[in-house]
């Protein structure tokens, strides 16, 4: 029996959010909501208008004046990087090769008829139970557990 819970969405069906949340979860949801309100107040600064005036035109002028990045410029930058940082270039190449090898080795196994009984190493799983709150802020509970995948040949007693 393979058990894997990816996501459960539970939507509150009334005005009160506590219909789906336990008291502990409700306290956490309230705290998160209050935190969001505090942050909005703390970061409630408005950029001054004057420095932003005609920003588009100024940026256009700067962009036109700057050297355009062309293929040649990119090639030069790559060459400088490789020559200036040979260790980086070597390491990067090895990393790419290692990734290719890893992907090749970790091809998903084909689904074959189960004939043997095996117990795999428990895998650490994390899932989120998402509650849609009436105020629009989603609250989600993080559930962490270990998942054990077991296959049987049908002859085992449960």
């Amino acid at each position: 029996m393979n058990t894997r819970i990816e996501r459960i969405i539970r939507t509150t069906d009334g005005q009160e959010p506590d219909g789906a949340l336990t008291p502990a979860e409700l306290a956490q949801a309230d705290a998160h909501s209050a935190l969001g309100a505090l942050m909005k107040q703390a970061y409630a600064f408005k950029p001054a208008d004057a420095p932003l005036a005609f920003m588009g035109e100024r940026i256009l002028a700067r962009a036109r004046a700057a050297e355009p990045e062309g293929f040649t410029a990119r090639l030069q930058a790559l060459w400088h990087m490789l020559v200036g940082h040979p260790v980086l270039a070597f390491g990067g190449t090895m990393a790419v090769l290692a990734l290719v090898v890893t992907i090749s080795v970790q091809q998903p196994e084909k689904q074959t008829p189960v004939t043997t009984s095996t117990a795999t190493e428990p895998a650490h799983m994390r899932s989120f139970i998402i509650y849609d709150m009436p105020d629009g802020n989603g609250f989600f509970q993080c559930v962490e557990y270990e998942s054990v995948s077991r296959k049987s040949n049908g002859n085992e007693s449960s």
């Binding site: 996501r7 107040q41 600064f45 001054a48 256009l60």
Partner: protein
């Protein structure tokens, strides 16, 4: 007769197409449309107006070049957010870290650096604002990014995923842990209401 150019009302997609066809005024329209929001985002990260403006301008200049190859796989504004966010984070990384030791730290001086508080928001006292900024600063960069985009910018999980280049599940995970860390650090202020 004074002629004030009306704001370009074309949708983002039309502006991008026009710009890619050679109409540079379309790019100016894009900048005008998003400069306030992006400046506010940059200030949320770098918390200095001068630096924020530099970040936004550099990001727009980079966007000017990259927009020519923009294929519309994501919304324009999430793409712009991503560029600005990356620039802001790089800027903070390069900047020497400010250690908050006293209440006279520059973080208190927000109203004096040219930024104004939005009139619809009741001003927090300086100490609380410092605590909040310090708490947000203490988050790992990936958590901080997501928390700011969600709590300050009000973006949806999908939009945050586009900006940060990760899945919605990862966004939720980072947001969850970011909020929990902030909650623990700011618990006395949450309980008392301020």
């Amino acid at each position: 007769m004074n002629e004030i150019p009306a704001a370009d009302a074309r949708p983002d997609e039309a502006l991008v197409v026009a710009f890619q066809a050679g109409d540079e005024r379309a790019f100016v329209a894009i900048v005008d449309r998003y400069k306030q929001r992006l400046a506010r985002l940059a200030m949320s990260v770098v918390r200095n107006q001068e630096d924020a403006l530099d970040v936004v301008q550099d990001a727009f200049i980079k966007s000017y070049r990259a927009l020519k190859n923009f294929r519309g796989t994501s919304a324009l504004y999430t793409w712009l957010y991503r560029v600005v966010m990356n620039h802001a984070i790089d800027h903070v990384r390069r900047r020497p870290r400010v250690v908050i030791e006293s209440e006279n730290d520059q973080l208190h001086e927000l109203p004096d650096t040219g930024m104004t508080l939005r009139p619809d928001r009741e001003a927090l006292n300086a100490e609380l604002r410092t605590k909040i900024f310090a708490a947000v600063d203490s988050l790992p960069e990936k958590h901080r990014q997501v928390v700011i985009l969600r709590e300050v910018e009000g973006m949806s999980y999908k939009e945050i995923a586009e900006v940060t280049g990760c899945t919605e599940g990862t966004v939720m995970s980072r947001l969850f842990y970011g909020r929990e860390r902030l909650r623990k650090k700011l618990e006395p202020y949450l309980r008392s209401g301020q």
